[in-house]
């Protein structure tokens, strides 16, 4: 409760929180409240400039950019969430196991992790995306997640191997607490704040990775995402023909979303690391 109060007083966290909330509202409520056309419905011609009928003009297919932006943000956030969950789950599981086990198991798990870190994730991402046929938003999120966990695993391992030497862990051990329960009950709760922050960073990374892949043409099929919007605007040379409405809005939304998530993260850092707190 104390933490929550400080959190609510942190300007950074609250600024980030409100922007994220606004973006979420736009993506989730927008389609019902702000528009009456579908994401794939043609409302005009090739790159119509913004007008009363289409607030942000039309794209290369003659579809309403403003509407696409809502659906696109929704998809991007969803992919980011899936990727964030997958990456955080794998990273925390491997990190906790390695940090707690020590010895051969730790060496093996961290060996694999370190090898994966040296491979540029974009290469793995592209190969996986090409290899997987069914490219839905969910599979994309999973693909991004399974390539993003190693950093989280390293950080969590470091925290776990420090936590396992704490006295409460020794007390739990001589109370007969077994290994699985030890990790779940005695060690994980002490990392919740860190894990939550790592999750937000993974979510941010997931949104950006989706944009990267989709711009390369490896995005989800039959779906609008911020990345696919940029993909089509590039393919149809919107920059050269001066159709700024085709790529600026998606870029701005991508930036705002990731910036506000990182802002929230920085705000939480202030809370969990009191030396960074602003004194008033």
């Amino acid at each position: 409760m104390e933490l929550l109060r400080i959190l609510l007083r942190s300007n950074r966290f609250m600024a980030g929180f409100w922007i994220v909330t606004a973006v979420l509202a736009f993506a989730l409520l927008g389609p019902t409240l702000l528009t009456d056309v579908g994401p794939f419905q043609r409302v005009g011609g090739l790159f119509n400039p913004p007008s009363r009928d289409a607030l942000l003009g039309t794209d290369n297919f003659g579809r309403d950019v403003f509407t696409q932006l809502m659906y696109g943000t929704r998809t991007s956030l969803y992919i980011g969430l899936v990727a964030g969950f997958v990456a955080t789950f794998i990273g925390v599981t491997i990190g906790t196991l390695a940090g707690y086990a020590s010895g051969v198991i730790e060496e093996a798990l961290m060996g694999v992790t370190n090898v994966l870190i040296t491979i540029p994730p974009i290469v793995v991402l592209i190969l996986l995306s090409v290899a997987v046929d069914a490219r839905t938003a969910t599979t994309m999120g999973i693909i991004i997640g399974v390539t993003a966990w190693p950093w989280t695993a390293r950080a969590v391992r470091a925290q776990t191997s420090s936590l396992r030497t704490r006295e409460h862990v020794a007390i739990a051990r001589i109370s007969g607490v077994g290994s699985l329960e030890m990790m779940l009950v005695e060690i994980l709760p002490y990392m919740f704040s860190y894990i939550f922050m790592a999750f937000i960073l993974q979510l941010t990374g997931g949104i950006l990775a989706e944009a990267t892949l989709s711009m390369l043409g490896l995005g989800p099929f039959q779906t609008v995402s911020l990345g696919t919007l940029l993909h089509w605007s590039l393919l149809w040379e919107s920059v050269r023909v001066g159709a700024w409405w085709a790529f600026i809005p998606a870029t701005v939304f991508l930036s705002i979303t990731t910036f506000s998530l990182i802002l929230m993260n920085a705000g939480m850092d202030e809370i969990f690391n009191p030396t960074l707190r602003h004194t008033r």
Partner: protein, 265 residues
């Protein structure tokens, strides 16, 4: 069997690291504790006393040497019955009452944890009864205490909870690693008296691990003086205080403030 030591170590050695960075923390330590005895292992920071405690508890494997409980090697015991049976008999209280309790759970949950040591847990009513009894022994207000979380307790209260937790399983030996060094002076005597009281009331064997030779003298029958990983002197508390043999023991005694030297002698 009953005259033999309840807990004994022989040639106990522990090396941390390896190669050029090897650090000999504990060097061929021998010691034996008889049932019902209160002993103290005395040494400064870095003398290896806490490492001995962790090996005695089976939390850290020794590099060499053995720990015997009632004459049975700890490795044999581990293989035969598992460590849980050992921890039903040998329990511990640690130095830091703020770090010993899991901050996320209530006192009741922390204490009920100890019943995991039993292959067949007693029924819940009996478990709660034993938790209440243990809290009562250490002089805590039982009804008030059970639902409290660690951050709602003072250092002295937490350390009492830790002692009560150790008592829940009714062990024969209690290893108290610096049980009072992080508690304010006013609760210190109370904690020590609770621990000493346990011997008379429950016949508990207690091993204190401390840097404070005055406290050790006040509480213990026999003292073991540890310096740079080795036991340099051992014997009845009175003999060591009156007639220290080893240079290090003399230095330790000379370092005790004058006020308490009068109190000791």
């Amino acid at each position: 069997m009953s005259d033999g030591p309840i807990l004994a170590v022989e040639g106990l050695t522990r090396v941390f690291g390896s190669g050029r960075h090897a650090n000999l923390a504990v060097d061929r330590v021998d010691l034996a504790i008889r049932p019902g005895e209160v002993v103290a292992l005395i040494g400064e920071s870095g003398s290896g006393k806490t490492t001995v405690a962790r090996m005695l508890l089976g939390l850290l494997p020794p590099t060499e040497g053995t720990v015997r409980y009632r004459g049975v090697d700890l490795d044999t015991l581990r293989r035969r019955e598992g460590m849980r049976s050992y921890w039903r008999n040998v329990q511990a209280v640690f130095q830091d009452p703020f770090g010993s309790l899991n901050a996320f759970y209530s006192v009741r949950r922390c204490m009920l944890n100890a019943f995991k040591l039993f292959p067949r847990r007693p029924p819940r009513a009996e478990r709660i009864a034993r938790v209440r009894e243990a809290l009562d022994i250490v002089g805590l207000d039982v009804d008030d205490m059970l639902t409290k979380h660690p951050h709602q307790l003072s250092g002295g209260q937490r350390q009492r909870v830790m002692i009560a937790r150790a008592l829940v399983v009714q062990p024969g030996v209690l290893i108290a690693d610096e049980p009072t060094s992080m508690i304010d002076a006013s609760s210190r005597a109370a904690i020590l008296n609770i621990l000493l009281d346990l011997r008379t009331r429950l016949g508990l064997t207690v091993m204190f691990i401390t840097h404070d030779i005055g406290m050790a003298y006040y509480t213990s029958d026999r003292l073991f003086i540890m310096h740079l990983g080795r036991i340099v002197e051992e014997g009845p508390a009175d003999d060591i205080i009156r007639d220290p043999q080893h240079e290090y023991t003399k230095r330790l005694l000379a370092d005790v403030p004058t006020l308490s030297r009068e109190w000791i002698l």
